[in-house]
């Protein structure tokens, strides 16, 4: 039995398989949240956090996790979008600000976190992570083992949390102006064009993991790779533009509510 989804090289079967590591991870998140948010969580924040956990669970467990880790690059990209772009803002928004005040009691950790979540460094770190975790040689090595696959998933989650922090920052003293947040998100819609183009316009399949995997669903390796690139661009685009839309309307409402507006 596998504890985490990884490439196995065996033919795909639509038979459910348990991945206890995923359940432990999801359970750990829920229990930690229950402890952090005790008597303090609002219903909206709790709903957001639970939605984030459900998105993660969907991305990591059978069948999406199993197909994405060893059979289809397109499902691997669905995992990437869910883990690094959809789940982190939901999880961060769900965190009660008071719980994060505990960071102040650990000045070294707080300083490190403050530095890496500086918008400039955050966007650099995030995009460097995106490039590294889609580098074919690295993907092929890591996806072949459960610890490697786990490392990729956790790297996406942490990089996503760092990237989204300046946008969904739950700590009151680190809130950036709406215009800066919108610009920050817009910049990433441009930056994610590079890996998208690499996947969509590549003449040959880049990932041995998916090219040599037992076939699923009649997609050729090249079609699968092109769909992966489109999911990265369009799926990421939907997330970024949804966030931009929400920020824009909040900004508009805030401006309307200002005295003299």
């Amino acid at each position: 039995m596998q504890w985490w989804c990884a490439a196995q090289g065996i033919p795909w079967e639509w038979t459910w398989r348990p991945y206890p590591g995923v359940w432990l991870f999801v359970g750990f998140l829920v229990l930690t949240y229950g402890w952090l948010a005790r008597r303090r969580g609002s219903r909206l924040r709790t709903t957001s956090f639970i939605a984030g956990v459900l998105v993660l669970w969907l991305a990591l467990d059978w069948p999406v996790g199993a197909l994405g880790s060893g059979y289809l690059a397109s499902l691997h990209m669905v995992q990437f979008v869910l883990i690094s772009l959809v789940a982190p803002p939901l999880l961060l928004y769900g965190l009660p600000p008071e719980a994060l005040a505990g960071l102040h009691g650990r000045p070294r950790l707080y300083n490190v976190w403050r530095r890496v979540t500086n918008p400039l460094l955050a966007i650099l770190l995030y995009n460097a992570t995106v490039v590294a975790t889609h580098w074919p040689a690295l993907v092929d090595v890591l996806m072949a083992s459960q610890p490697g696959s786990f490392a990729i998933d956790m790297t996406w989650l942490v990089a996503g949390a760092i990237y989204w922090w300046p946008v969904v920052c739950p700590v009151p003293e680190r809130r950036f102006p709406y215009v800066a947040k919108i610009g920050y998100l817009l910049l990433n819609t441009i930056l994610n064009t590079l890996p998208y183009a690499f996947l969509v316009f590549g003449e040959l399949p880049f990932y041995a993991t998916y090219e040599l995997a037992p076939p699923v669903g009649g997609l050729s390796a090249r079609e699968d790779q092109r769909i992966a690139g489109l999911i990265m661009k369009l799926g990421g685009g939907v997330v970024f533009w949804t966030a931009i839309g929400i920020l824009f309307f909040r900004w508009y409402r805030a401006e309307e509510g200002r005295p003299g507006a």
């Binding site: 003449e203 040959l204 090219e211 040599l212 995997a213 076939p215 390796a221």
Partner: protein, 218 residues
């Protein structure tokens, strides 16, 4: 707490150890094959001894006799033994060859024949084989014969004979996973094992055709 080597010296040491371990992990046979591949300039595995073009006659998917030596004369020929119910190796090998062939210029495509011999004649009817192969490339040739005859051909080619695994109707067939590549009129000097990538085919197929043309003077 254990001490680990740090800094660039440590990294270099770790790399050296990794390379040494990797080198020790390969058998003498694998290292020999690597050397031959480097010398041949191809990415396929160079055979220590070339395999002669076999002289056999099987039946194609239209029910016509297909004499391999005559029908493939003058063509670079890729020969593979597999079965259409194969869940992994056969469809991947066929799909990768088809995908690369479709990108090659027409004259190069026309200079290559891909022949698939079934190791599961019981389930691989001519119709099923024709449909399955057409899903990859309409030009692929499917051949059938008695399993004993097919296994005898495989023995001549120094391939492991096919073995039925399981008694139920959805049995698997154990079979050789490599594609043999024959020159236009000559023997096979290269094989492409399971795990051969499209990049490898894209590298080798035009060279095989060029070499065949240079040899035949066409």
């Amino acid at each position: 707490m254990r001490d680990y080597p740090t800094g660039s010296g440590g990294i270099a040491l770790a790399l050296l150890v990794a390379v040494a371990v990797a080198a020790c992990g390969r058998t003498a046979e694998q290292r020999d094959a690597d050397r031959r591949a480097r010398e041949s300039g191809y990415r396929g595995v160079a055979l220590a001894e070339p395999v002669q073009r076999p002289d056999f006659t099987l039946t194609d998917t239209e029910g016509r006799p297909f004499r391999f030596v005559d029908e493939t004369k003058g063509f670079v020929t890729l020969l593979f033994f597999g079965y259409t119910h194969c869940p992994d190796i056969c469809p991947v090998q066929m799909a990768n060859i088809a995908s690369v062939l479709s990108d090659l210029p027409s004259p190069v495509q026309r200079a290559i024949k891909t022949v698939f011999v079934t190791t599961d004649p019981e389930r691989d009817t001519p119709d099923r084989m024709r449909q399955w192969l057409a899903g990859f490339d309409r030009g692929f040739i499917g051949l059938r014969g008695d399993l004993e005859q097919v296994n005898e051909i495989q023995r001549q080619l120094r391939l492991a004979p096919a073995v039925r695994m399981g008694e139920t109707t959805d049995y698997a067939v154990g079979h050789a996973s490599q594609v043999l590549a024959f020159g236009a009129d000559g023997p096979a000097r290269l094989v492409y094992p399971s795990g051969t990538r499209q990049a490898d085919w894209a590298h080798d197929l035009p060279r095989l055709v060029d070499e065949a043309r240079a040899t035949s003077g066409r």
